[in-house]
Amino acid sequence: MTPNGWLQIAVFFTLLLLAAKPMGLYMARVYERQKTLLDPVLGPVERLLYRITGVDANAEMGWIEYGAAMLIFSLSTLLLTYAIERLQHAIPLWNPQHLAAVEPYLAWNTAASFTTNTNWQSYVPETTMSYLTQMVGLATHNFWSAATGMALAIAFIRGISRRESKKLGNFWVDLTRGTLWVLLPICLVYSLALVSQGVVQNLKPYDTATLVEPQTVTATGTDGKPVTTTVTTQTIAQGPAASQEAIKMLGTNGGGFFNANSSHPFENPTPLSNMLQMLSIFLIPAGLCITLGKMVGSPGHGWAVYAAMSVLWLAGVATCYWAEAQPNPLLHGVNQRVVQTGAAQSPGGNMEGKEVRFGIANSALFATVTTDASCGAVNAMHDSLMPLGGLVPLSNIHLGEIIFGGVGAGMYGMLIFVILTVFIAGLMVGRTPEYLGKKVQAFDVQMSMLYFLIFPVVILGFSAVAVLSPSFGTSSLSNHGPHGLTQILYAYTSAAGNNGSAFAGLNANTHWYNSTLAITMLAGRFLMIVPMLAVAGNLATKKIAPPSLGTFPVNTPLFTALLVSVIVIVGALTFFPALSLGPILEHLLLRSGISFS
């Protein structure tokens, strides 16, 4: 670890802190339908959309209606994306490479992936998706799924702030305002900033470059014999990347325009673009903490939640950075050409799978940020992280991606943890738990526990079947032993957490993984949203009791500490056995000089 590395991490945190408050207060104004500077431009567009779709913007919904609207919208967009993928070869628009229709299993996996804000990619975009599919099927979905998550978080916040009401707002209005007032304006400016750094934005066919040094490549032919060819040219993929890149990061979607995602020089060319991308992942989730404080009338509560998220973020990035800054013990002193100690020309530590222009600190920070949130974009190969370095992104998702988290999803996930924390605090002092003056009762806790239990059931259930199935489960592994278990566990964890990052050593483009990961993504999104909305709807109906001596304050360092403890204990207890057989065992074996092919 170097002072320069820590300085960059500190700069990241400071910039985020400065941006969170204005962002949060702006979002509160947007969702409370108060005046903003963009109203003269966007107001007429909003009204036109409601007129076309027949939405009554003043009609509010109860939690069941809100949830049903969200489900109908998500099903519609899933089917639209599936249709575009399957028909892309027949649509005479923006398909300069003449790419064929996407195979059905893969198309469904991808449609489910983008509907759920996961953006798990079992495909290679450059050779699979036309520009039309990338723009209309995928980039548009990035806006919709992000705006849906934000709408749901706002509905939950309204559930806390309203008293004796059965209404949580109007899903269509929240969806529209989140898209028009928050996502689109920022993405417009952000895309141009990325273009200024060198991110490509065009509709050209791919370029072909002649190699300065032709390469001789030997591969196994269809008859099993080695075939040697000389490669003299390279295809350089193009496309509308910057416009997709902006919402990919801001909406915590994470699906790369190119297969190499944010390690591709056309997608993330410079250290500045890298810093912008990391900041944009956390921008809305951090702002939502301030929105929470503003809308529930307790700014201190919003900051207490922000502090809890910051503590967990710092613990993650410090662990990951430390682990990656260590030399690989199997290489240390054996091969002198592998420089693993800090020197003028080398950052030291484990540089396998990392981009030289980002180095270890920014790769560790990116890996932590992208899995704290449900983004899943990567600027380094997670499969190449040291075992304890890889443990951090995996654990971040296991905690429920509530460390700032996905846009909206992180906030409502964190609020479920807050309900649980308040409940436990109430039990400790022997009083009826209250959260901001509202009694937390049996139904709220039942729904919260349902929310928590779905997550490990789908992850551990499917992982167990895959691990025990050589024909379709372990046959996709690139490594065996504990690292192989981690590859499978990571895939289902990433899918259930709607993260989308891959450990990348697993070949997931098979019928088994495409179909089960799609089911995992859908379950991890919608089967968790439903009980969350039930809690919100129930909280909205309650009276607000005035604070008394027995009220547990939720704006103090004590609350922050208790919240962090509950998050760590719930996450650790649920997944520790699986982690001990995966990355922890791999770390111990590696220290003993044992690795697996």
Partner: protein, 34 residues
């Protein structure tokens, strides 16, 4: 054929999700937590 299977699977999942909504509501029953 595969397209029809995935179309049916999509509708089936969201139907389950809608039933799940009413299942959660039924769990609350007639209790008045307010």
């Amino acid at each position: 054929m595969s397209d029809l299977v995935f179309l049916a699977a999509s509708f089936a999942f969201f139907l389950v999700a809608v039933l799940y909504v009413y299942g959660c509501q039924a769990l609350k029953g007639g209790r008045d937590d307010a």
